[in-house]
């Protein structure tokens, strides 16, 4: 933005904040420097663009007429109560908590929004210290689809994107998003899958190419009280349906030991431990075990044992 334009827009904001009654377009043209275009048409075009820019910044331009106005064309003003950040005072410990939270976002667009929010709060007299804290939170959002998904969720609009799934070809999905969730360092969008007519969870890093936003703002309304984190957690972790017994070499198979529901010494292998671990899918359970190589041997059930053997045979040949 050129300095001349910034000057014009700032004068426009000051002018519309100062007036109680609606100012007509001609009154604005006279009152605000920089609207001295040769033709009425050129001035109108510029004024329209200026209005759009102010609204994009969140400046509440009010349109209307009051009885004093003689022509029917609506006038403009900015209501101070809608423009001004309300009074806010933070105790030092609250300001410190805000300072810590403000460091959560590591990347655009939320890091930028945090920065401008803090400036507004500082301008309102709130000082949030940025002394290094013991606990440093960091959440990134490197997924290319993040900004668009966030915008659709924020505005209550629909999404169209291409999603890659394990094993299948990429598919176009139409989703009415209820929310975006960061879970274990990855972002997900939760919403109603229009084609499948059912709730679905999509990992943002699996979205390929451009994301389209469709529909009117406010057309997507999430179900009241929807548990976004619950949807993501359930989609990522299956409920165990069966229990496997695995023998582990001393000190090995740490992740299986932590997941064990029961442990006992292995009577057939000196020093080894038997662990019982719940699982839902034999194939996926076999993936977890195979990584431990000769340090973990599945004893039961047969389908889990066979799944591991099949994997090992494929690898050994």
């Amino acid at each position: 933005m050129s300095a001349k334009k910034t000057e014009r827009l700032l004068n426009l904001v000051i002018c519309l904040l100062a007036t109680r009654r609606y100012l007509s377009v001609q009154e604005i043209r006279t009152a605000v420097p920089g609207y001295d275009q040769d033709t009425e048409e050129a001035f109108r075009r510029m004024f329209e663009r200026d209005k759009d820019e102010l609204r994009e910044l969140g400046i509440p331009l009010e349109t209307g007429t009051d009885s004093a106005a003689h022509d029917d064309e609506p006038g403009y003003r900015i209501a101070r109560r809608d423009y001004e950040l309300p009074e806010i005072t933070l105790e030092p410990d609250e300001a410190a908590a805000l300072g810590l939270a403000a460091r959560l976002w590591q990347s655009a667009p939320l890091a930028g929004a945090t920065g401008s929010a803090l400036l507004k709060l500082r301008a309102a007299g709130v000082d949030s210290p940025s002394a290094p804290a013991a606990l440093e939170p960091r959440v990134g959002a490197s997924e290319p689809a993040f900004a668009q998904c966030l915008a659709a969720v924020r505005d209550g609009r629909s999404l169209v994107f291409t999603h890659r799934t394990a094993g299948g070809p990429p598919q176009e999905r139409h989703v009415d998003p209820w929310g975006v969730v960061s879970w274990r360092g990855r972002w997900y969008v939760v919403g109603h899958d229009v084609d499948r007519d059912a709730p679905r969870v999509f990992r943002l890093s699996r979205i390929a190419g451009a994301v389209q936003i469709t529909g009117e703002p406010g057309s997507v309304v999430p179900p009241p009280g929807v548990d976004l984190r619950g949807w993501v957690a359930r989609s990522a972790e299956d409920e165990p349906r069966a229990t496997a017994r695995v023998s582990l070499r001393p000190g090995a198979g740490w992740e299986l030991r932590r997941a064990a529901t029961a442990t006992a010494p292995d009577p057939h292998r000196e020093g080894w431990t038997l662990v019982d671990v719940g699982f839902s899918d034999p194939g996926r359970f076999a993936d977890r075990v195979t990584g431990y190589g000769a340090d973990a041997v599945v004893l039961t059930p047969p389908e889990a044992r066979e799944a591991v053997v099949a994997r090992l045979q494929g690898l050994a040949s």
Partner: protein, 316 residues
């Protein structure tokens, strides 16, 4: 981060900011707004010619310089900052909620009080923040001990699981800080065994004891830069090439790859730097026939050997 703010929103914040801080140092204002002092002077010169309609001497924004300080005498009606936008409210509210949800963070009440005040100030703009959530996994088990050792600057003894070797290691660590990165909690500390700064994932700490000795990280030791992710491969790390079938595509999501090439059959070929060959051998075993080590050949042989050995355990 605030440098990205456009000039007009910056000016609209600058006027009330200066109004509430008469005689503030120019350098302090520039630092707060993330701009150079030269840029700040340009901003102030622009304010000077703006004001109420009429634009006579009493209508304009008035700024007075004294030495390195500045005082705003006349705000021309811009006495308060603009309300928070939906994006700004969302960024602060979701971050505060994530912090409030972090188990082991003792000042949870404080966070809730700050949150309530921000929500109130944001008004209607706070609504969409309910649609964004950050799930945080704290480790209630070890966090209180780690926090007290940090407060008292005491050395720790850790039993810590190293996944690459699938074994638990014992070491003394001088704690430096706790971090929450990508949804997981870590302890950063000076590892006296490795003589270096290390990050310890809290869910891999098997046990922790606070020792009597004081924590003494070497003077001048610097925090690990986690802004580019936790694992930053070095040129000395082994370059491994893996062929992945579509079900194993998650590997390219989970681990930083040097290159990812889609292959004709819908799978991909990835190259990644690996510090720990034990880790990549276990990854290859885990992938089964969904992944194959293309290079180096010794690694492919080692994986074949690991599989044959494991298979033998099933034949007995």
């Amino acid at each position: 981060m605030s440098a990205a703010m456009g000039q007009l929103p910056r000016l609209l914040a600058l006027v009330p900011y200066l109004l509430s801080r008469p005689g503030v140092q120019l350098s302090a204002v520039a630092a707060t707004f993330g701009i150079s002092e030269e840029r700040l002077r340009k901003d102030l010169n622009l304010l000077w010619v703006c004001g109420l309609p009429g634009h006579g001497p009493g209508d304009l924004i008035d700024v007075e310089f004294e030495g390195d300080t500045v005082t705003l005498l006349e705000p021309a009606g811009v006495t308060r900052p603009l309300r928070l936008t939906v994006d700004e409210a969302l960024a602060l509210i979701v971050a505060l909620r994530a912090l409030a949800d972090t188990p082991g963070l003792s000042e949870r009440d404080t966070v809730h009080r700050a949150l309530a005040k921000i929500e109130q100030a944001a008004g209607a703009a706070a609504g969409p923040a309910a649609r964004v959530a950050v799930a945080v996994e704290g480790e209630q088990r070890v966090l209180p001990v780690l926090q007290s050792s940090l407060d008292q600057r005491r050395r720790l003894h850790l039993a810590y699981y190293v996944p690459g070797r699938d074994e638990t290691t014992e070491r003394d660590v001088d704690p430096m800080r706790l971090l929450l990165v990508e949804g997981r909690s870590y302890l950063e500390g000076w590892c006296r065994r490795a003589e270096g700064v290390r990050l310890f994932r809290l869910d891999r700490i098997e046990s922790v004891t606070v020792l009597d000795e004081p924590a003494e990280p070497p003077p001048g030791v610097v925090h690990r830069d986690v802004s580019q992710g936790l694992f930053r491969p070095g040129p000395d790390d082994l370059l491994v090439t893996l062929a992945l079938r579509p079900p194993a595509a998650w590997v390219s999501d989970y681990y930083p790859c040097e290159s990812v090439t889609e292959s004709a059959d819908g799978g991909m070929v990835v190259r990644l730097r690996v510090r720990d060959t034990g880790w990549v051998r276990r990854l290859a075993l885990r992938l089964g026939d969904q992944g194959r080590v293309l290079a180096p050949a010794e690694l492919a042989d080692a994986v074949r050997g690991d599989a044959a050995k494991a298979l033998a355990a099933y034949r007995t």
